[in-house]
Symmetry: C2
Amino acid sequence: MDDIAYYAGGVFRSAQADRKKVVVLGSGWGALSFAKKLDTKLYDVTLVSPRPFFFYTPLLCGSTTGTVSQGAIIEPIRDSAAACNYLHVACSDVDLEKKKVHCANQDTGAQVSLDYDHLVVAVGAQPNTFGIPGVQEHAKFLKELEHGAEVRRQLLNKVMEADVALVAGDMEKVKQLLNVVVVGGGPTGVEFCGELSDFIKRDLAVRFPKLQDHFQVTLVEALPGLLTMFQKAVGQHVQDHLVGQGVDVRLNAMVKEAEADKVHIKMKDGSIETIAFGTLVWVAGVGMRPFTKALCQKIGPDNGQTDRRGLLVDECLRVKGTNPGEVFALGDCAVSGKPPTAQVAAQQGKYLGRMFRAGQQERLADKEAAPFKYAHQGTMAYIGDNQAATELFPNGLIKLGRSSITDHMWWRSLYGDVDHIRVMGVAGFAVWRSVYFSKMYSMRGRWCVASDWFRTFLFGRPAAAPVQGTAA
Amino acid sequence: MDDIAYYAGGVFRSAQADRKKVVVLGSGWGALSFAKKLDTKLYDVTLVSPRPFFFYTPLLCGSTTGTVSQGAIIEPIRDSAAACNYLHVACSDVDLEKKKVHCANQDTGAQVSLDYDHLVVAVGAQPNTFGIPGVQEHAKFLKELEHGAEVRRQLLNKVMEADVALVAGDMEKVKQLLNVVVVGGGPTGVEFCGELSDFIKRDLAVRFPKLQDHFQVTLVEALPGLLTMFQKAVGQHVQDHLVGQGVDVRLNAMVKEAEADKVHIKMKDGSIETIAFGTLVWVAGVGMRPFTKALCQKIGPDNGQTDRRGLLVDECLRVKGTNPGEVFALGDCAVSGKPPTAQVAAQQGKYLGRMFRAGQQERLADKEAAPFKYAHQGTMAYIGDNQAATELFPNGLIKLGRSSITDHMWWRSLYGDVDHIRVMGVAGFAVWRSVYFSKMYSMRGRWCVASDWFRTFLFGRPAAAPVQGTAA
C-alpha cells in the first residue's frame, strides 16, 4: 500500500513538474473566463493583477447609488479561480526573449519575476480623457470599483454641502452643487443617469425635502444620438425616457475644458456653453493602459503593432509580432475588431481556454486553427424608473443544431424576417435583472445581490455611505 | 374651512418661531439617543457632525473581517433623526457668551454659524496613543468606521504580500507579514482577536493553504489580566479560550515604541522584547478630541474644567463653569464618573432628552433636578469560535415595581444572593447576538445584519474586499 501511495505521489509530482506555465495578466472578464477553462492538472496557472478580485461590471452603476453594495459585486480571485495561483502585484515588464514577466507591488515595492510558457494579456483598458484639459483632475470616472465608491462619496457629500449652502442662503451654490454632469451617452452613461434619477426621485428628494427642486442631471454626448450601438429607434426611445425622468440631454455637444466646478461645452452651432456642476462623471470612452502601450512599443510597429487602441491580435488572439503560441491578448486591451465589452472579453476567454485543452495544444501555434467567432447575445441598458432597453439576439444564446433560431418557421411566424427581439420598458427591466443575475459567477454573489435588491425595495437606498467616513 | 386652515397654519408658524434652538454636536450613541427623545414641535434641533451617519459600534470588529459589511452597520442621520436638521460640518468653536457655534466643512472650507439656546456636546473621544513614539504613524485604530475599513484593507493586503514573499522564498518576511499584534486587552481588543482567529481558521487558512501555518495573532496588555471590567474569573476564562484559539496573550507588557514593521515591548521582568508585525492594531484606550480640549481650556480650570479626560459635568450633565441649562455634555467627551461606553452614552442621551420634555424645562437649570442614574445592564464580548463572555444585570434591564428582580424569592432560589448572571460559551454568543440585534436602531439595519450573518454562515467571509481597490 505504501508503494502505491508513493508511486501515485511520484506520478503526481512529475505531472506537476511537467505542467506548462501559464501567466495571466488581469482579473477581469477575459482573464477569469480564460483561467476557469484551464485544466490545472495540465497547466500551472498564475494570475497577476493589482486588483485581488473580479468585479461584476454590469452592476457598477447600481453601486454608485447604493442599489447594491460594493461587497455584493466582487468575487475574490482566490475563490473564483481557486486552483490557480494568484499574486497581488502589477506586471511592470515582459521579457519576450527569456519568457519572463517582472512584477512589483505598487505599495510596497516588493518584486517578483515569473517564467511563462504561455502569456495571456488581459489587463483591460482605462478611462480615456482624450487629452481634454481639466478632465483628469476634476472628473470622476466609472470604470473600476473604486470609481464607484468615489462617485458615491462625491454625490452624497455634495448633497450635504448643498444643505449647508441652503442654511447660508446661497441658492446659486445649491444649484451648482446638485447638478451632476455626465459626459458620454453610451450604456454606462445612460445607466448611470437612470440609476441617478431613481436615487434622486425615490430617496434624496424624500430625505432632503428642502433640496428636492434643485437636483439636476445633465447628460452630454458628442454624437447626435444616445446608445449608438443599439438601433436608432432604441436610442430615441431612451432619450425620450430620460428627458421624461428630468435628465437634461445635450447631444452634439463636445466638452472643451473642465474646471473644478464648471465645464465648457461646444454646442453644434459652435457656441460655447458653460455648465456649473457639483459632480462631473466622465464615461466618454476607454483607452490603452500604460503597460499595454509599453508592450506595443516593445514589440514595435515594424512587427505589426501599429494600433493606438491596443495590442493587435490575429484571428486566434495571438499577439502580432510575437512567437506563435506564446503571447495572447484578449478583452479591452486587444484590438480584434470587436467592441470593448464584457461580452466579447468573456467569450474570448472561453475560446482561448478551449484552445488550451488537452491534446489540442498544437493549435496554439497553428495558423490554420479555428478563429475566434463572436456570438452577439444582445445589448442591455437600465434607463431608470424600473425600465430598461434590451436588444436580444437569440442566435447568440442558443443554436438549434446546425440552423439558428431565426431560421425556424415558428420564429418567422412570430417575429418576421428579423434575427433579434427588442424588449423595452418594465419587461426589459425584468430581462435586464434576470440576465445579469443569472450571469453572476457565484452563488455568494447572487445571494448578496438578491438581498441588496430586496433591501432597496423594502427600505430604499441609504442617504449616507460608509465611504463618507468622518472627514467632512 | 379656509379660515380654519389659515388659523392652524398661524399657530403652527408661531410655534415654529418660538421653538428653542437646540444644537447637538456629534452623531454617536449619545447624540442620537438624545435627539430622538426631543419633541421637534417644541425644539428646533440641529445635529452637527463631520460623520453623516450613526454607526453601530458593537459590530465594528465584525466588519474588519467581513462578518458584516460596513453598509449594514451604519444608519444615516437623515433617516434616524428625520425630524431634526443635520449639517455635515465640524464645530470649530463655541461662543459661550453669544450662544453661537462656528462650524466648517473640513474638505471645502464652507463655513456656517448657528445660534443656540441649548448646546449638547456629544463629540465622543478619539484613540489615545499615550504619546508612545511611532504608534500614531504605524498603528491602525478601531474607533471609527473608516478604521475598520483600514484594518480590513491592511489585513488582506498583508496576506497577499505574504503570498508574494512565499514565491520569493522569504519565510521570515512571511511570518512577519502574517503576525497581527493587537495592543489592548479590553472588550474591543478581545473581540477583535476573537473575530480575527475565526477569520484565519475558517476562511484565510482555507483560501491560502500554503500560508496556513504562519498566521499569528498576538494580544498585548499592560495590566495583569484581560477584560478587567468583568469579574476576574471571566477574564481568566477569556484568556484561556483565546490561548486555545492560538492567540499569543502577553500580559504585564508595555509597548515602548512602534516602528513600521516591529514593536518594542517592555515585559514584567524589565526586559525589552521586539515583535515583528504585518499589522498593528491599537485599541489601548481613548482620549480627548482637540475640540473638547479647546472647549475645556476656553471655560478654564478656574471655572472647574480641570480634568484631562474630558468636560467635567454635574450630576445632571451640565458642563461645569457654564450658565446653568445652556451647555450639556454626555458620552465619551464628558467626565461624569461613568466608563466611556456606548451604554452610558445612550442612557445619558435618553435622560437628557427627558429633561427637555414639555412643561419640565425649568429643571434644565435647576440644581435640585433629579440626577442621571446609570443602570448597568451588562457587559459582553465575543471571543471567537461562536463563543462569548457575557455578564447580565437584570435589574438594569427591568425593574418590577419598586423592587428589583434580584430582591425576588424566585431569583434568590435560582441564583442565590447575587444580582447578575454570567452566560459564557455558545449560550453567551446567542445572548450576544440577540441583544445586539435587538438594540439596533432600524429595521433596515436588522435586515442588513441578518442577511450578512446568514451570508457568512453560508459562504464564509470573502478573502478580498472592495476597499483593496486596484492599487497593489
